[in-house]
C-alpha cells in the first residue's frame, strides 16, 4: 500500500505527517527513494507499531434507582484520552450482584 509521498526540503529532509487510522498492529514499512534523476534508488525497512488508543468510559448517571418492572435507560460515553467521542464501537453492559455477572 502506497501510504504517502514527501519531498525533501533544503536540508534534504523529507517529513511525512500521517494519521494512523489503520488497525493497530506491527507494520513493516519501506521508505523508498525512487525516480530520482542522477541518483540510484534506495529503500530502507523500518517497523512501525501502531498501538490501541486509550479510552475512558464515562457514565452520566452513576447511581440509578428504579422500581421493579420499570423501563430504564443506561447511557455511557467511551472517550479517547483526548476526550474525543468514539463512534461506531459497541461496548458491553454487564449486570452483577456481588461482582458476579
Amino acid at each position: 500500500m502506497d501510504v504517502a509521498r514527501a519531498k525533501t526540503d533544503d536540508t534534504g529532509k523529507a517529513t511525512l505527517v500521517w494519521v494512523a487510522t489503520i488497525k493497530p498492529r506491527v507494520y513493516s514499512t519501506y521508505l523508498v527513494c525512487e525516480g530520482l534523476s542522477g541518483y540510484e534508488e534506495y529503500s530502507k525497512h523500518i517497523q512501525i507499531t501502531i498501538g490501541k488508543g486509550s479510552t475512558v468510559i464515562t457514565c452520566p448517571y452513576e447511581n440509578i434507582r428504579a422500581e421493579y418492572t420499570d423501563y430504564l435507560s443506561i447511557s455511557s460515553y467511551p472517550l479517547t484520552d483526548d476526550e474525543e467521542p468514539i463512534a461506531g464501537e459497541t461496548p458491553r453492559f454487564y449486570l452483577s450482584i456481588n461482582a458476579q455477572k
Partner: protein, 181 residues
Amino acid sequence: MNINGKAEITVKCDFLLENYSVVVHGCSGYYQEANGTLTLVIEPEKLEILNIVITPERLVVGDELIIAITVGENDKNIVYVAGAEASMFINGTRVDVQTTDVNGKAGFRWVPRSPSPYLIRIVAEKDYYEQTSQTIRRTVYGALRLIPVTLIIPAIAALLLVAYMVRKRKKRHITQLQENS
C-alpha cells in the same frame, strides 16, 4: 454507539430487588479496554387501586354489597397488575380474598347481617410490590321496607270487604230490632 459516542441500552427491571453493579466494558480492535461502573438499585414497585366501584349506594341488611376494583402500578403510564392478591376486611376481619385478572380487576361480594356502620378495607399486595390499601366507611341500615304496591291493593280490597260486611251485618241487626219492636 451513535455519532456522539453515546451508547445506550434500555432494560426492563424485572429482576430481583437488589443492589446491582452495572459494568460497561469497551473493547475493540482499535482501542484499549476500558470499564465504566455505575450502581443500580431496584426498589419495589408501588401498587395503586386505580378504580373502585361500590354498589348499591344505600345498603340494607340482607342486601349484597358488590365491590369491583382495578389494581395497577402507580406510574405515569397505566399498567394493570395481574396476579395481585386483593383482600377485603370488614371491621378488621378478612372476609374475602381474590386475585386480580390480566386487566388488574378483582371483585368482592358481602351480605351484611346487622345494621351498623362498617369499615371496609381493601388491600392489594404482590411479591416485589409495595402494598396499597383503601378504606371505605359504609352504613348498613335496618331492613324496614315499604310494602310493595302489589300487596297494598289486595289489602285495601280486603279492608273494604270487611267494612262492607260489618256494615251489612249491622244494618241487618237494626232491621231485626225494628221488626221485633
